[in-house]
């Protein structure tokens, strides 16, 4: 009999599949990095697990952050899908909200994932007040479904106007489709989003249908592969909202995996920083083309109600809010015709990549600037793809494209590139913090991904953040996130009533009932929880407005009251805008219920640094680094060997296989007992 004590996190990225194993019985952890297998990610997935788990029978749970859904959306590789909709409205998906991709320039294009000839209409109509004006005819629906099947559709979405107000017609139609559809891929729009706003509901439901065959077959392959290897453990999938769900749920709601991969990283950041005593962090994921920022306040990741995966591809389900700007290691620097230095959004990506890769790009990038300034070790490129970096080529490119046009020297130009890039990243951090009313002095930055730790020092100075926290293994952060993720389910329902007309007690009771139902879903997944939390919220607005504010609500045992709702609205509105409007009625638009199963806390001391080394023993050399116009000699340390509580004053460079940390002059790094490097202002300069 096996012990079934392994919890394994697997994050499949574009290049590598990262695996993190935690043996709950012994506390042992292990990590592995294997190449991702394009085409069928399940191959790399299983190989990665074999690298850490000897016997698959020991696996209790595999938690997976997947980009299969994200990639299928971005590359338009979902299944052939059909839509059955209300007569007169077949083009809602293609008409969007009458927008365009860019404010300036009129060369935009949009191809919907379901072409017009696969969007069929039936006679039916529900009015805005929920009254059924025209009943749907099940026979007509079945005929349309047959037609879609004949046209080669594998998946179908049923969407009716005003279905959020009454989905009786939709339910009849879905039943009719199921009676003739050859597989389980039938999506009911209001089951995905029972919320007002037809385009957003349809878009989300359509993308769900579009992903269902792809994600389902992938998950089937995964489960089969694991079973073949002898695993009897459960498989859980990370959702975009930062919680995990069962495979069964993921197959039904694949659109909830749209940001599964990035969400796993944020979950890990949350756990690492909480353990280290930093409940407020801003995660900074710097890749080749973009810089992704996310906010965790008081231990909770900020969620967005809606995200556009691409122009016109709107997904309206709660997702970890990730703000992306075009500033990555591969972002190209140039001087525009007005003589202003610009960095990004154009990027050389990872192929051809920066000039120093020598793969064909000759326009300087952020990574080239880091190299020329001595912050990156040319002889030790991270990621292990290249043997060495070409400093001379990088310097020549910066000289030609930046230094000469601006009439400054090449080192100055390289510093300027970093300053502009850092300013853009600082802007993204301000956007999620200061602009939302959070005080940066209460937040730490947590970089992950390869390049982030080179810039965090500058960012904490620029934005006024308290500190930066560099986890021990920034490269496997997302896989760790899978292991520590809670299980979470969100529900939303449109109410659309004036507050004065709301039967508050009944509303409260309904929300409780929905929470009970949702909790049952949690119980079915067969996962152990430490406790279960419920979060209740109301989206409300003044009568006449169209944008809501979301107010947290307590459901007291003696019942919800209109007064309590009003107080919650006032507090939320004041926080958002600073002034209340008197005498204007308040409307309750939606209620939201989240049920969160908290998993047992993961003991971060497994990352404890070695204690048998001295700081000096970790010193491996020194490099000349340019900072603020001056050349300084920065000692270089082997990061993973640094002992607990080691203090490293800047300037200093800490190297490890998957990242390089730069501690700026004026900052100091300290290794904590979880192996994190905490960077703060030098004592005496305002920090503890």
């Amino acid at each position: 009999m096996s012990k079934q004590s392994y919890v394994i996190g697997v994050d499949v990225g574009g290049t590598f599949t990262d695996v993190f194993l935690w043996d709950e019985a012994t506390g042992r952890v292990a990590t592995a990095k294997v190449p991702s297998t394009r085409g069928d990610q399940s191959i790399g997935f299983v190989e990665g697990i074999s690298a850490v788990a000897g016997d698959f029978a020991d696996i209790a749970t595999v938690v997976h952050g997947t980009t299969v859904g994200t990639n299928a959306l971005l590359e338009r590789k979902g299944a052939p899908t059909g839509i059955i909709t209300t007569e007169g409205f077949r083009d809602v998906l293609e008409m969007r909200r009458r927008d365009r991709p860019t404010t300036w320039g009129l060369w935009g294009m949009f191809t919907p994932v379901v072409p017009r000839d696969r969007r069929l209409e039936v006679r039916e109509r529900v009015l805005a007040d929920g009254n059924v004006l025209t009943k749907v005819d099940a026979r007509e629906v079945a005929e349309r479904a047959e037609a879609l099947r004949a046209a080669g559709c594998e998946s179908v979405c049923v969407f009716f106007i005003n279905g959020y107000a009454n989905n009786d017609n939709e339910a009849v139609a879905v039943e009719a489709v199921r009676s003739v559809w050859p597989n389980a891929y039938v999506t009911a729009a209001t089951e995905i989003v029972p919320e007002i706003r037809e385009f957003e509901r349809l878009s989300t439901a359509t993308l769900n249908a579009y992903l269902q065959p792809v994600v389902s077959s992938y998950l089937d392959r995964l489960e089969t592969a694991l079973e073949t290897r002898g695993s009897g453990g459960d498989v859980l999938i990370v959702q975009s909202n930062g919680g995990v769900m069962s495979v069964e749920t993921a197959k039904r709601y694949p659109v909830r995996t749209a940001l599964s991969g990035p969400a796993a990283g944020v979950i890990a950041a949350k756990a690492i920083s909480a353990a280290a005593g930093y409940p407020n962090v801003i995660t900074c994921d710097m890749g080749g083309t973009s810089f992704d920022v996310s906010l965790v306040a008081s231990g909770e990741a900020a969620l967005a109600a809606q995200t556009a995966i691409d122009f016109g591809m709107v997904v309206r389900t709660p997702m970890i809010e990730i703000t992306t700007i075009g500033a990555g290691g591969g972002s190209i620097a140039r001087v525009d015709e007005g003589g202003i230095l610009q960095v990004g959004p154009e990027s050389a990506g990872s192929n051809p990549g920066p000039v120093c890769y020598g793969l064909g790009n000759d326009r300087p990038t952020v990574t080239d600037a880091n190299l020329v300034l001595g912050r990156i070790n040319a002889a030790r490129p991270i990621g292990g793809k290249l043997d060495a970096l070409d400093v001379d080529a990088a310097r020549a490119a910066i000289d030609r494209e930046i230094a000469k046009p601006l009439d400054i020297d090449v080192m100055e130009a390289a510093e300027a590139i970093l300053k502009v890039a850092n300013a853009k990243m600082a802007g993204a951090i301000r956007l999620v913090s200061i602009e939302r009313g959070f005080d940066p002095d209460k937040f730490a930055a947590m970089p992950f991904g390869g390049g982030g730790a080179l810039h965090t020092g500058a960012l904490i100075k620029d934005v006024g953040l308290r500190s930066a926290l560099v986890p021990r293994y920034p490269g496997v952060t997302s896989a760790l996130g899978c292991v520590v993720a809670d299980m979470r389910h969100d529900r939303v329902q449109t109410v659309n009533m004036l507050l004065d007309d709301v039967d508050a007690a009944a509303l409260g009771a309904e929300m409780e009932a929905v929470a009970d139902e949702t909790q049952a879903l949690l119980a079915r997944a067969g996962v152990a929880f430490e406790r279960i939390d419920r979060v209740f919220e109301l989206d409300m607005l003044y009568l006449g407005q169209t944008h809501t504010v979301t107010a947290p609500i307590e459901l007291p045992p003696e019942g919800l009251t209109v007064d309590a709702i009003r107080r919650a609205f006032d507090a939320a509105y004041l926080r958002a805008f600073g002034r209340l409007l008197t005498g204007i009625p308040v409307r309750v638009m939606n209620y939201r219920v989240a049920v969160i199963g908290r998993r047992p806390a993961f003991d971060m001391t497994v990352f404890a640094p070695p204690s048998d080394r001295t700081l000096d023993a970790c010193l491996v050399g020194s490099r000349r680094v340019r900072v603020d116009g001056e050349d300084v000699d920065a000692p270089v340390y082997e990061r993973l060997d640094l002992p607990d509580d080691a203090l490293i004053p800047g300037p200093a460079l800490l190297e490890q296989p998957d990242t390089t940390i730069f501690i700026d002059p004026g900052l100091v790094g300290r290794v904590d007992r979880f192996g994190n490097v905490v960077i703060t202002q030098q004592p005496g300069e305002g920090d503890d």
């Binding site: 959020y164 957003e200 003589g339 610009q342 409007l581």
Partner: protein, 578 residues
Amino acid sequence: MAIDPITLAILKGRLEQIADEMDATLFRSAFNPIIAEAHDASHGIYDAASGDTLVQGKSGLPIFVGVMAFAVKAVIEKATAQGGPSDGDVWIFNDPYAGGTHLSDFRLVRPLFRDGQVFCYLASVGHWHDVGGNVPGNYNPAATECFQEGMLIPPVKLFDRGELRQDVIDILSANSRLPTSLYGDLNGQINALDLGTRRMGELLDEYGAEVVAEALGELKVRAARLMRAQIRDLPDGTVFAEDFLDNDGITDEPLKIALDLTIEGEKMRMDFSHSSPSCSGPLNISRATTVAACYVALKHVFGEVPANAGVLEPVEFVIPDGSILAVEAPKPVGGYTETILRLIDVVFQAVAEIAPERSNGCAYGTINALSLAGHRLDGRRWVMFSFFGGGHGGHPKGDGLNHGNAPISTATIPPLEILEVAYPVKFTQWSLRPDSGGPGNHRGGLGAVYEIELLEKDADVFLFGERGRFAPPGVVGGKPAALNRFVYDTSDGEKSPAMTSKMVGVKLLRGQHVRLETPGGGGYGDPLTRDPQAVARDVGLGFVSREAAEADYGVVIGSDGDVDDTATTALRRASAAA
């Protein structure tokens, strides 16, 4: 050496972020959907002495980028006449002759003080739901004086040294059919200015007023330099382009917008001398609006130029007094959107002559301001007012966008489910309009069909639209899109307005419909050179009918839906010869 290039690049980003954040604050807190959903508003930072636009938010309405400078100038003049601005003052007004656009757009202007001096101005402009006048929603196609279009407020103080003047709000509220909406939007604009003031203060603390002032000055210089470089890339010479408005809503005669565009080295001249004189109806625009509209057109063509007054420095304007493009009070200006859309179309057509690779077919060219107004069964007044979409032009990279927003705006359309909740209407159709895109090697995008049924009592219908007689042109050999079309039910059957797309207060009864069919975009390049497979695909999708495939593209589609190659070759040869 003035400010260093690095600080300049950084401050540019910070200032833009402040303007963007002001936009976002108003969008989220506004009451009327024209601001909240359609983003018909804008915020920026303006020069302390001249009022010139220095920085403008990205998400606001493009047309305001140019006009707001005139609005701030108007406030500076008035404040100076009264002994100068004071800290804590906020001015409010909607005078279109002083600040451009039309009466619906209320501007709030606030001096930002630093060390006892005005450092810059912050301004907010937003389109209010109703500002009085003869027509709910203020698109009155029959107006002959601005007094019929709404209340006209000259620059007055809303805050006097930080003290709110409630009497001003009382006057404004008393002159609107929808005072609550007005009050909500006004508060949103105040929120935005408060926030901008706070953020600018933080920035000045951090960098010092001198450095920020230098950056603002330098950004203007750089913008001009950038624009000159763009002009230099164009071949020298003069081209001519003209286009027409259907009528002025009063007299059914076309109105001409004509442009002689001259490129001479680093300079550009935009001469509108051959345009129509001012008209009796509300299709006139002020000089400020004309300049702003040219700016919008240029920025669509030269995407990289910043939202900064410096851009217009190398551009010379010739706009004769008394022209439809330079009117004074009290000539009506309510339909300014239609005139500036036509002006932009004319610029696109002129650019196609000198630089076809940078041009595109004209977009649908009318905002179709449609309002239905009445009283609910319980007596409450309702006004459903919205702008509708159409196709964008074909362009060098591909076919035009289906159902886009107007080039002067970034407006989104409200969800029809939201409209059905708020008003007693039911949409019976909301779809793309076949055969509405202008034929071309790259086809124009499709316009839309919107059909609305009235569910309660009765309502008055108002429409302010265009392109009912002159379709959006194609460029570089591309053909025009379909015309705008509007019909409404009467007891004697379906009717269209006498002025094609303009109509005031036609009574609609419960159960009756109105139907708006909007133009697509103009085509790009000769349709006879379009890939026949692309035409077959369009026919399969229902974007293009079989008849149009033959008539416009010379492509014959067989009964199996595939291209009939032999017939197509013959037909194309014949069409080319014709």
